[in-house]
Every structure is written in structure tokens, then in C-alpha cells.
């Protein structure tokens, strides 16, 4: 456990430089929240969050951190668990800040706070975050950030197109409507489901990353 904790801490320090950039994205999100809809910052902050989570791979490459990881007493599984745990915690922090920002915009613009809209946005954007990160990380572990960044999101577009295509076939809107109806009465459940689905996506992605990373050369 100590090694995983250290790996998370190391990732935190590796991407230290991006935190200032993250503050800038909060400001942009707030602006959009004020001029468009108070719910918008949640989606924007989580989309930016996906980008920031991948930055650890970029800094790693730029600074020859393969050598550092090569001398540290870290198992490859510790590196993987640490990286995902860091990304998960980062996602939680981003979502919490996004929720607070959105709520404050609701209040300050004297718009009626739509709790269900807030919960839905938080839950769905968190699932998106975990899905996008879960898709990108195994690719980064396999090919590295600089080689893979451009095409990392391609599978996401295919999945999106596939989902649109399938939604016609399986009457997805009605299914979605009934799911939302259920969750409108169980909002805490909605949030918890988002976290659980995110966790499951991370676990699947983590296993994939381990499989590609365990035999890789540092």
C-alpha cells in the first residue's frame, strides 16, 4: 500500500505544472456558465479534466522519467494502480469543484437550482471522464503520449457514432427516459451509480493497461 501511495504522490508532483492551467479552465467554464447555462461548467470542467489526466504521460516523456521509474523500488502494478487512483481522485476533485461552481452560478444568477439537472450532469460527466480516461490510458501506456495523443480519441468517436446508430434501433430514448425517471426520485443513487460505473470502467482499463505495460521496456 505504501508504494501505491508513493506512486500517487509522485504523479501529483509530476503534473504539478498543470494545476495553474486548470484554474484557467475553471474561469473559462464559469464564464460559459454565466453567459449560457449554469450547468455548462460541469461538462466543460470534466472534459478539460480528461486532458489534464493524460498530461502525466506527457510530462513523463518530456523529462525522461522512464529512468526515474527504472530505479525506484516500484512494481509495474504499483505504477498502474497509482496512476489510475490518481486519475480517479483527480476526477472526483474536478467533479466536486464543477458541482460547487455550477451551484454558485445558479445562486448568483438567481436561476432556480435544478437539483436533478445538477445530479444528472455530474453523474454523466463523471462517467464520461472515466470512460475517456479509461480509453486513453492503455493507449498511452502502450505507445506513449506523443505518438498516441492524436488518435486516442478516435475510438471514442467510433463509439459515439455507434451509439447514435444503435439508439435508433433499440429505442434508446425511451429506455433513457425511464432510467432518468427512476433516478429523478433517487438522486443520491444516481451520483453513486456514476461513481460505481466510473470505477468499473477504471478497473477494466487498469487491467488492460497492466497487460500492455507489464512487458514494456522502461
Amino acid at each position: 500500500m505504501g508504494n501505491i501511495q508513493n506512486a500517487v504522490k509522485l504523479d501529483f508532483y509530476i503534473v504539478k505544472s498543470i494545476y495553474r492551467m486548470a484554474v484557467l479552465t475553471y474561469l473559462i467554464s464559469i464564464l460559459f456558465g454565466i453567459i449560457a447555462q449554469p450547468i455548462i461548467p460541469i461538462f466543460l470542467i470534466m472534459v478539460f479534466g480528461v486532458f489534464f489526466s493524460g498530461m502525466v504521460f506527457s510530462v513523463y516523456e518530456k523529462n525522461h522519467l522512464n529512468k526515474l521509474y527504472g530505479i525506484l523500488s516500484l512494481r509495474k502494478s504499483d505504477v498502474i494502480i497509482g496512476r489510475y487512483l490518481y486519475a480517479f481522485l483527480f476526477g472526483i476533485v474536478q467533479a466536486s469543484l464543477a458541482g460547487i461552481i455550477s451551484y454558485i452560478i445558479f445562486r448568483t444568477t438567481e436561476t432556480v437550482v435544478d437539483n436533478f439537472a445538477l445530479t444528472t450532469a455530474l453523474s454523466l460527466s463523471f462517467i464520461y471522464f472515466c470512460f475517456a480516461v479509461g480509453l486513453a490510458f492503455p493507449i498511452y501506456f502502450k505507445f506513449g503520449f506523443s505518438k498516441a495523443y492524436v488518435f486516442t480519441m478516435i475510438p471514442l468517436y467510433f463509439i459515439f457514432i455507434g451509439a447514435v446508430f444503435l439508439s435508433d434501433k433499440i429505442n434508446a430514448l425511451n429506455i433513457l427516459k425511464s432510467i432518468l425517471l427512476y433516478f429523478s426520485g433517487h438522486q443520491v443513487m444516481f451520483l453513486l451509480s456514476g461513481i460505481c460505473i466510473g470505477l468499473i470502467l477504471f478497473v477494466i482499463s487498469g487491467i488492460l493497461s497492466y497487460l500492455v505495460y507489464k512487458n514494456s521496456e522502461l
Binding site: 508513493n6 504539478k16 523529462n63 522519467l65 527504472g70 523500488s73 522502461l218
Partner: protein, 248 residues
């Protein structure tokens, strides 16, 4: 005296390069120089020792332990210095400790601060703003602060000015002075090794040409080279590079 590193029949094959049956060892408390031209296989050997790349065959024992099976235990007592600094360039010198110290059970913060002062490294300066010599010293400070028993140096002096190189050699001599610590020093700047190495392993094109004491190397090559005086390691390296062979 026990051997700090024992390598037996180590092999690694790449598409365009192979390490063939490397075998060498050296005792605790000594400095071994790993010498060879650029591309001879020195860095690959070091990466294999550190299990940064998977070996195809052979055995590596460090402190008597298998370098793969006991990797975590071994790495607590190993430190490495490479030709390039491996810390994030925007970290301040003081932040390096915060990021790294948790990995070492024997990390001594007091020692880290003392070495920073001794090596005149400013704590509030960012890694990217340090000179090449200072970056190398910072890697050494990290190595010394967790009391590593084995220091592996991969081309640490390339790009350093003579003063910084001399300073490094002094630090290394002080490091092994207690007789319990050892150094594996890979370089193609052989004049550094002539001053401090006890053992030499000479690699050429992925194969070992010689491994043993430095004195024996100089003795064995002295009759083979045109100059009548005792040859330098540099002259031996050139001789080997031109296809010269050691017989017997």
C-alpha cells in the same frame, strides 16, 4: 569478499544489436568501469541490471539476490546517475525530496539537506535552471541520501567540464571510502576511470573483450600495442575498436 554484482551469460537480442553472453563480477567496496565505444552495449547492460529491459537469457545477481525476483529489495539499496537528469524540470531542488523520499525506507532528510549545502545546490532553484554539473550532483545527492550501497553511473561525465568531472571523482572516492559501498561506472571517457577504477570490463559490439582488474588489463595489453610504455585505457579502446584482439 562477496561480489556486489554477478552477471552470468547475460543475453539480450534486438533487431539490430545483441548482447552476447556477458559474464562479469566485482567485489563489494570496489569501483568497476564499464568501458566501450558508443553503441557497444554499456547502457543496455545497465538497463538489464536495473531490470528496465527484460533479459533473454542469463542471470544477474546484485547483493547476492536475483535482480528480477528481489527487484524491490535490491532497489532500496541502489542508486543511479544517468547522463540526463530524470527529475521533472519544473521541480525545485527541495521538491525533488518530497516526490522521491517516500520510496526509500532509509531516506535521511537531514543528510539530503547537508549534501545540498556541501554541493552548493540552491534549494529554491528549478531543475531546468541548474547547470549540467549541478544536475549530476543533484542525482548524486538523491543517491547519497538513502545510503545506497551500490551506485550505478551511466556516462555521468559526458558533457561535464574538467572541473566538474574532477569534483565528481572526488565525491565517488569519498563515497566508497568506508569499504562497504561499490560503484559501477560506465563511460567512454576513460581517463576518469584510470584515476579511480579497480576493475574494468571492456565491451565491444555486445561482447566482453576483457573483465578483471585494471592493473591486469594494462599489463596484458602492454605487449600488444606499438608504444613501449604501459598503455592507457583509451589506447586499448582504440586498439580493440580497430579489430585488435587480446590473446591468452
Amino acid at each position: 569478499m562477496s561480489n556486489v554484482i554477478e552477471v552470468k551469460n547475460l543475453c539480450k537480442n534486438y533487431k539490430d544489436f545483441s548482447l552476447n553472453n556477458l559474464s562479469f563480477s566485482f567485489p563489494t567496496g570496489c569501483i568497476m568501469g564499464l568501458v566501450g565505444q558508443n553503441g557497444a552495449g554499456k547502457t543496455t547492460t545497465i538497463r538489464l541490471l536495473l531490470n528496465m529491459v527484460k533479459r533473454d537469457d542469463g542471470e544477474v545477481r546484485i547483493f547476492g539476490l536475483d535482480n528480477i525476483g528481489d527487484e524491490q529489495r535490491i532497489k532500496q539499496d541502489i542508486a543511479a546517475v544517468f547522463d540526463e537528469v530524470f527529475f521533472v524540470d519544473i521541480w525545485k531542488v527541495c521538491e525533488v525530496e518530497k516526490a522521491i523520499s517516500g520510496f526509500y525506507s532509509k531516506w535521511d532528510s537531514k543528510l539530503y539537506s547537508q549534501y545540498l549545502i556541501k554541493f552548493r545546490l540552491p534549494t529554491d532553484k528549478k531543475v531546468k535552471d541548474l547547470s549540467r554539473g549541478m544536475k549530476m550532483k543533484l542525482m548524486l545527492v538523491v543517491a547519497l541520501s538513502h545510503e545506497a550501497q551500490l551506485l550505478i553511473l551511466d556516462e555521468p561525465t559526458s558533457g561535464l567540464d574538467p572541473v566538474a568531472r574532477d569534483e565528481l571523482l572526488e565525491i565517488l572516492q569519498a563515497y566508497i571510502s568506508d569499504g562497504r559501498k561499490s560503484i559501477l561506472f560506465s563511460t567512454h571517457i576513460t581517463s576518469d576511470l584510470e584515476k579511480i577504477a579497480d576493475y574494468i570490463t571492456l565491451i565491444d559490439n555486445g561482447s566482453i573483450i576483457y573483465t578483471g582488474t585494471k592493473d591486469n588489463l594494462l599489463k596484458r595489453f602492454s605487449g600488444l600495442l606499438p608504444s613501449s610504455k604501459t598503455p592507457t585505457i583509451d589506447e586499448i579502446l582504440i586498439f580493440v575498436g580497430k579489430g585488435g584482439k587480446l590473446h591468452g
